[in-house]
């Protein structure tokens, strides 16, 4: 929806909220610095592939720098697996290109359609957080554009740790150097365990010490004694000698991906209703229970199942959806129970629900991951009663030492945010030092009263 003058309506992946901003593509680091220095609407904000769910990549009335053209050649050191890559490069392209040489992304979120810069700005985690941490941990160097020019940062710099998880509010990431992990094939060996209750799901998930990837899909529509039942997946990269002869010929080349085309933008509100969400979850659970316990799965199928349907976010209809992701300490499993029960009983079923154990806290000042349990739920948005219910759950999460993931958020309130992230004061000091205060802001940062 582009106006004649370069103004566009922007949305997050959840399609709510929305706002209008001037969007300018930037293809070089110098162009980013120029754009930051130029006169024109404020605030300024970088935006990649727009996969944050809420308002993190929106800047109403401001100038949004589209960084997806910052995607020049990828420089890979074949011996060490250190890669230098432009910030607008998608993880889809980076993953595919380095895989040919026997390397893979050290951390990947549930979609490959994010930029390197977006992944760093959200300090994304993956199914291996319990042993490998978040993406920031694998960062060797970072190039950040500010009004003073492009500065090079290392993990010894506080500014790097303000930028990791800093939601694009410290400067514009233009390039990064990342340590990759070695793999022998494009497959993982996935072992799945069906569980019958939340206790069992949590217990099984704790057996993650010896595997790289561990995550549970939860049937969030199940209530009563079935509450929290699900399918726990444990996976490792498949070694070459495990492949059958038919697959062993080109084990590092990803085949072309077949993608179901984007659904039209006319999906009515009721398609993902209480009934269809419940039916889908029950079917998925029953199907999972009958699947063979262990299987060889393609990396793309394993990490990015939803990428198979382009624009799946449209299935929620014009009201969009909210992803509610919390982390709570080990002892606070009652909060998980309360979240699942309140939403199911309140008539707000989650379409897709994921539970995982986090490892050590991530180092970014504003990074989300820290021990222990993280639960993510997809909820149809803008339904009567939902906001009040989530606001109550926010307090329950906070009171039990937990917090909300900003990359998913579009509705947390300033006071609750400040209590969940006491580090925001240090973050603001780093932003001031980088000259970002008063220049860079998003709808998220203004909603949370950081700007």
């Amino acid at each position: 929806m582009a106006d004649h003058d370069g103004y566009r309506i922007l949305e997050g992946w959840g399609r709510t909220p929305r706002s209008r901003a001037l969007v300018r593509p930037v293809a070089t680091a110098d162009a980013v610095v120029d754009a930051l220095r130029s006169p024109g609407p404020r605030p300024r904000l970088p935006r990649g592939l727009g996969r944050s769910y809420g308002d993190a990549a929106l800047a109403a009335g401001g100038l949004v720098l589209d960084t997806t053209r910052l995607d020049g050649p990828i420089e890979l050191e074949h011996a060490t697996g250190v890669v230098r890559v432009d910030a607008g490069t998608s993880l889809a392209r980076l993953g595919r290109e380095v895989l040919r040489h026997g390397w893979f992304l050290p951390v990947t979120p549930g979609t490959k359609h994010v930029t390197v810069a977006g992944a760093i700005a959200a300090d994304v985690h993956g199914k291996n957080h319990h042993r490998d941490g978040s993406i920031g941990q694998w960062l060797r160097r970072l190039w950040l554009a500010t009004t003073a020019g492009v500065i090079e940062l290392t993990p010894d710099d506080a500014a790097l740790w303000a930028t990791v998880g800093g939601m694009g509010l410290t400067g514009v990431i233009v390039r990064a150097e990342i340590q990759l992990i070695p793999v022998e094939t494009r497959f993982v060996v996935d072992r799945e365990v069906a569980t019958r209750s939340l206790e069992e799901t949590l217990e099984v998930l704790q057996e993650d010490a010896t595997v790289r990837y561990a995550v549970a899909w939860i049937d969030a529509t199940a209530t009563g004694r079935h509450l929290g039942r699900g399918l726990v997946s444990f996976a490792d990269h498949a070694p070459r000698d495990l492949l059958p002869a038919t697959l062993a010929r080109d084990p590092l080349e990803l085949p072309n991906e077949r993608v179901v085309p984007t659904p039209p933008d006319i999906v009515p509100t009721g398609v993902l209703s209480r009934a269809t969400i419940r039916a889908f979850n029950t079917l998925w659970y029953e199907r999972g229970r009958r699947r063979p316990a262990s299987a060889l799965v393609d990396l793309r199928t394993y990490f990015y199942p939803l990428d198979r349907v382009a624009g799946w976010n449209r299935l929620y209809g014009p009201r969009g959806f909210i992803q509610y992701q919390v982390v709570v300490p080990e002892a606070a499993t009652h909060v998980l129970r309360s979240v699942l029960t309140s939403l199911a009983e309140g008539g707000h079923p989650s379409f897709l629900s994921v539970l995982k154990r986090f490892g050590a806290p991530s180092r970014g000042i504003m990074s989300f991951p820290r021990p222990w349990w993280t639960l993510a739920l997809d909820l149809p948005a803008r339904r009567p009663g939902l906001e009040a219910l989530l606001a109550r759950l926010d307090h329950e999460v906070l009171d039990n030492g937990g917090r909300i993931y900003l990359a998913k958020d579009g509705r947390l309130r300033p006071r609750v945010f400040r209590a969940m992230y006491p580090e925001h004061e240090e973050f603001q000091r780093e932003r001031a030092r980088l000259g970002a205060l008063g220049l860079l802001a998003s709808d998220l940062s203004r909603r949370l009263e950081l700007d």
Binding site: P17, S19, I322, R383, R411
Partner: protein, 253 residues
Amino acid sequence: MLNANGLPQRALVIGGGSDLARAIVRELAVSGPLERVALLGPRRSSLERVAAELAAHLDACATFELDLRAATSSIADALAPALEWLGGLDSVLMAAGTLPDQEVADHDPRVVEEAFQVNGTGPAVALTVLADHLERAGAGQLIVLSSVAATVVRRRSYLYDASKAALDRFALGLADRLEPAIGVHIVRPIFVATRMTEGRPRPAVSLSAEQVARATVAGLQARRRIIWVPPLARPAIAAISVLPRRLVRRLPL
């Protein structure tokens, strides 16, 4: 900012002393993130009373005098301090209105003029200033309290109906101009029992201010441009509008 559930943190309310304004602000504050509200209206005493009632649900509530019967420039001037105090604007609630006595108005052109000023021209002038403000900001919502009366003209209240129709049409035009960056929500309730309608003959079916407030908040969350309260009012009005006029003028509406 408006949050992912379509609910505001900061609101400017014109006609802030009214029962409907109080009920809607209360609903937005209790079930949503609303925390800073500027109440504008002609009578300091009504504004203060509503502000006191809302205080427990809000972080900050301030009152500002605004008379919609005033000259265009003074309406614009009166909005400025409220906008400045708010610091940011997510939502505008246009709740000003007067219900003139039609029998008096039949013979007194001054009553006719005042009804159009308070229900029509004044709100249109204020909305023009505020729509510009929101358009520059790139996000926000306008909630305009219209009425089913804006869609049907009745012999015993045609002044009210016509003046509300002016506002309703104007808001529809604003919606065409501002959407989808800015949400425009036109609320068309049937008879609501408030101080404005006190002493008037109450029809068989009427609403409380709280019912209208709940429907309004649900409607703006659903991104609805026209919010009929109750929803059945819509087909009822559609039916009336195809009846011959000589029949409608005799109906006890």
